[in-house]
């Protein structure tokens, strides 16, 4: 009886310690995130104004706003997604629905994983030599968008793959069992079920793309360009690069410090908004799949 009590007590203590550690770590992570956010908000909120987000930078980028950088970043996100999303989704469909298990699948998978591990500056260099020089796009939104698109391709492929794999095999069997072809099954049954989760891949890529600096460094980003891009062959400013510029190599770093924090804050807000938007989209489609 006594030893049983002891055992129960020991179990309880172990349980409490483990639980305590996990709780502490989770809270620490959230706290850390809040500290970083608070730091940027406190330092940057002062410069945020309607003018800051809608005006051109002036006076050697120490005054005025960051409008062209915001527009540039949005253009780059859009361009990269337009490229990476269809390509990534179709690649994932091919891999999960069509290729049989074997060495081809293994090689493609391994390569996709390798692609995810390539440092972003290497993508930048690659984008410069292929899109900017070889294909002659020049420093442009097209070149930068494609480079960013390549960068997030593995993310899109992997999340799409996971979402397709999560679709129960009996849905496919039921569809094929009715004499449907593989493509009919994939497009009319599997994709609609997986779609809400595929959107998650989109969310992750948007966040990633809007914050990357290295890949756009040699492919699109302009140091100072106080006008909006008018075509995909134009250069553009972009938030992360603009932040880098005014924080390290601007005309007057001290004077533009507050603006740097403001830029960081705007960048974070854009990522946040796109995440919320994508989440809402995901919920909407999740419901629609059920209601449809």
């Amino acid at each position: 009886m006594n030893s049983e009590n002891k055992l129960a007590r020991k179990k309880r203590i172990t349980q409490n310690i483990a639980f305590g550690i996990f709780t502490a770590i989770s809270y620490a992570i959230v706290a850390l995130l809040f500290v970083i956010l608070a730091f940027i908000v406190v330092k940057g909120i002062g410069v945020i104004s309607w003018e800051f987000i809608t005006a051109m930078p002036t006076n050697g980028m120490t005054e005025g706003g960051i409008f062209p950088a915001i527009v540039g970043t949005l253009c780059l996100v859009l361009a990269s997604i337009i490229f990476a999303f269809p390509v990534g989704v179709f690649a994932a469909i091919y891999m999960t629905e069509y290729v049989k298990d074997g060495w081809i699948k293994k090689v493609i998978k391994q390569m996709t994983n390798n692609l995810a591990g390539v440092p972003s500056i290497v993508f930048g260099l690659f984008g410069m030599s292929l899109f900017v020089n070889k294909l002659g796009f020049g420093d442009s939104i097209l070149a930068g968008g494609l480079t960013l698109g390549l960068l997030v391709l593995p993310v899109v492929i992997r999340t799409t793959e996971e979402s397709l794999k999560a679709v129960d095999a009996t849905f496919r069997q039921a569809s094929l069992g009715l004499g449907a072809t593989k493509w009919q099954t994939t497009s009319k049954v599997v994709l609609p079920i997986a779609f809400p989760n595929i959107i998650t891949g989109l969310i992750l890529s948007i966040g990633r793309v809007s914050g990357e600096t290295a890949p756009i460094l040699f492919t699109v980003a302009a140091y100072f360009l106080p006008k909006l891009p008018s075509s995909i062959f134009d250069q553009a400013m972009a938030l992360p690069y603009h932040l880098y510029v005014i924080a390290t190599s601007g005309t007057n770093i001290e004077k533009s410090r507050a603006m740097a924090y403001g830029t960081a804050l705007i960048l974070i807000i854009i990522v946040l908004i796109s995440n919320l938007l994508a989440n809402a989209l995901r919920k909407y489609y999740g419901k629609k799949v059920k209601m449809n």
């Binding site: 049989k100 298990d101 074997g102 129960d168 095999a169 009996t170 849905f171 496919r172 069997q173 039921a174 569809s175 094929l176 069992g177 009715l178 004499g179 449907a180 072809t181 009919q184 009319k188 049954v189 609609p192 079920i193 799949v289 059920k290 209601m291 449809n292």
Partner: protein, 250 residues
């Protein structure tokens, strides 16, 4: 004359042999129950009848299976046509994320039927066939997920019937359902065998006894015994069969 006939069928998952020399025939308009403990090969055998096992990589089949005297594993077999003729119902109700109406219409649409009147007529007939019409006639445009599990399963049967198969394969169709839904499906099986040849895999001995004309007992990938259901459940020829149906093992 046999509707379905398997001759010396062996089946392999990679190196593992899952079925050993299965020879089994089924007459038209009968219900055959496949019973046996988990992993005995009964579901694998069922899935050979509409070539569903083709979807699994690294599998191999030997022997021959004839449906209406045609070897379905011949090179020139059109698998889509075969599957149209051999409908399938699964363990868990799996309606598509579409409306009730579209679930049943799906099989018609993917097979190129576009005439609205034909589709409408077949959808209604199929839903009536599974005795679901009164329950869903007012919500055909609603999601199939709004139905109860038992209704979903009957809808899945209607979906299979809509493309007018002659054989119906059922893989433990009631194992996820409550007793009332189960008995509705069983009644339905009685009704359907007038028009279809049914093969059902079940873990439920009483169910096999209630719904089937013939019962085949599988064990470790071998067909131990196949006979009239009455015979199997009252005086089986082989000791193993008796041990299994009386619950001594399995």
């Amino acid at each position: 004359m046999h509707k379905i006939e398997s001759r010396n069928v062996n089946f392999f998952y990679g190196e593992t042999q899952a079925l050993h020399d299965i020879s089994l025939s089924m007459r038209e308009h009968t219900v055959t129950a496949l019973i046996g403990p988990s992993g005995c090969g009964k579901s694998t055998f069922l899935r050979l009848l509409n070539r569903m096992n083709d979807l699994i990589d690294n599998t191999r089949m030997e022997g021959s299976i004839l449906i209406d005297q045609n070897d379905i594993y011949q090179r020139n077999t059109n698998v889509d046509d075969l599957r149209k003729n051999v409908g399938m119902v699964f363990q868990k109700p799996n309606p598509f994320p579409k409306t009730i109406y579209e679930n049943v219409a799906y099989g018609l649409r993917v097979n190129g039927i576009e005439d609205k009147n034909i589709i409408e007529e077949r959808v209604v007939t199929s839903i009536e066939q599974v005795a679901l019409w009164d329950e869903v006639k007012d919500k055909l445009k609603k999601s199939a997920f709004e139905l109860s599990g038992g209704q979903q399963q009957r809808l899945c049967i209607a979906r299979a019937l809509a493309i007018q198969p002659s054989v119906l394969l059922m893989d433990e169709p009631t194992s996820a359902l409550d007793p009332i839904s189960t008995s509705k499906i069983e009644d339905l099986i009685h009704e359907l065998k007038k028009q279809y040849t049914i093969v059902i895999v079940t873990h439920n001995m009483q169910q096999a006894a209630r719904v089937s004309d013939n019962t085949a007992f599988f064990y470790m990938g071998k067909l131990i015994e196949c006979d009239k259901t009455k015979t199997i459940f009252t005086k089986p020829a082989i000791q193993q069969t008796e041990d299994y149906i009386t619950g001594r093992f399995g």
